[in-house]
Amino acid sequence: MVYRKDIIPFLLLLPTLAYLVLFLGYPLVQTFILAFTSDKGAFGNFQQLISTGEFWKTLKNTLLITGVVVPLQLVLALLLALFVNMRFRGYTIVLYIISIPLALSDVSAALMSYSIFAPMGYLNKLLLKLDIIQYPIYFFGFMFKTREFWVIVLTEVWRATPLVFVIILAGLQAVNKEYLEAADIFGFSAWQKFRKIILPILKPSILSALLIRTIFAFQIFGVVWLLAGRDIPILAGEAFYWQTEVNNAHMASAYALIIALVSLIISWAYLTFLKPAQGSTA
């Protein structure tokens, strides 16, 4: 770097800092204020939140979706990345096809799922036509929460596995071919090569993919809201419900704050776990 230390870099950063203070910092402070003001003292909203029982259901559902979806995505993405990284003829086409869901919104993905699992959707029509069933199977509605849950899981796995895939594939580029050739000379099996060489190099990518996905899975909204509404209450959905339907910004803020708090804990855990890993591979 040839330019002298002076005031210019700070002037260049100033607009960004000012914007983020105004449109992230200020709302954050306001969320705290909103969440901690109520008719019944500072913790009134949180007391109401916990006492209704709805909250624990909401937290449980959100954790359950995250806990089921994220590991599935990781395993699938890892397999896909190893497969595409074989660089067979035409792998770029497969790479592009896998990345299509990256561009899609949760709204589109939910509606795609709906076109398959609706009462008159493709799946039911196919089964009816093959005479496997006589009446359509219902996947949506208050009566069928378990089915709704699995449709949501499937949709999320379809939609967001490519994100994990791209991060891991980028990480695979750091695996030097010579390491693997050396391993061949020593007679390593494919599993040993994966376990002893590829996996350690991939560790930072896997951790960052896990972090990103866990945080986003915790904020899941569109897919659940469209496919299940409040049949399966989730944290972001409740924040949305309290804000737009009850018009209670205080309770909505309390829910938002809980999402932020958990995201923060996940980020912190990630940063403390990742640091030593980076140091050891550098």
Binding site: T16, L24, P27, I100, V107, S108, S115, A170, G222, L226
Partner: protein, 265 residues
Amino acid sequence: MLKKFLIGFVAVIVSLWFLTPVVLIVIASLTPSSDFYDPQKLFPTKLTLDHLYKLFVVLDGWKATLNSLEVAGISIGLSFLVGLPAGFALTRYVFPGKNAFRLSILLTRSFPVMIIAVPLLVLYIRIGISDTLLGVALAHTSMILPFVVLITSSILSGISVEYEEAGMIFGLSRFGAFAKITLPLALPGLAASAIFAFIMSWNEVFIASVLTLINRTLPAHILNTAMTSPDYFKFAAGTVMALPAMVFIFFTRKYLMSMWGISLK
């Protein structure tokens, strides 16, 4: 030979898994309602643009699409205007607090959007820009800006500072060297990041739904009307949401890895 066959087989399965839902919803959006409700017809015998037409014209989809484009346009313009200088500073200068700045920019990515939507609505009502596209765009900018700062810094660091120095020897000013030499070289990368920013705004549904009532963007409009509409409108809506994003990602496929790699590191 067997290995080659196996690879081809897996490649086809993987491609089908990711393509089928997209193809199915496009077909569903073109299926006449009589064919859709006929259990004997898995696929339509003829196609119609009826649902798409009604979605756009009768159900206000056209207005919502224009709203979405306007919000995305303002957000992209604003976030590049504000973020590009910061990205430049991060690559071309050494200064105390640089790493702290980069880290805090990264951390904003784990900010849930829920936390800005609710208080901003309260603020917007107070200053009189509630239910406006500008309000949504300002909120989207706070989501896109950190991405723009990181991505521009990475693109600019790929362009050697020596070109700028050479330009300055030949009499260009500091700013002139950047505008006449570095910026044109960075343009393809910047265009790709603008497309990514577009997709972020185009797809965002939570903030847009909370901040607007009448002036809804397309995803917000769909979220609030889709589930009370007949099924074929849902498919039309899903298709309209998906297509632009897919076309755009096709043009940026070369940058795919670096974009996500950088924005998520």
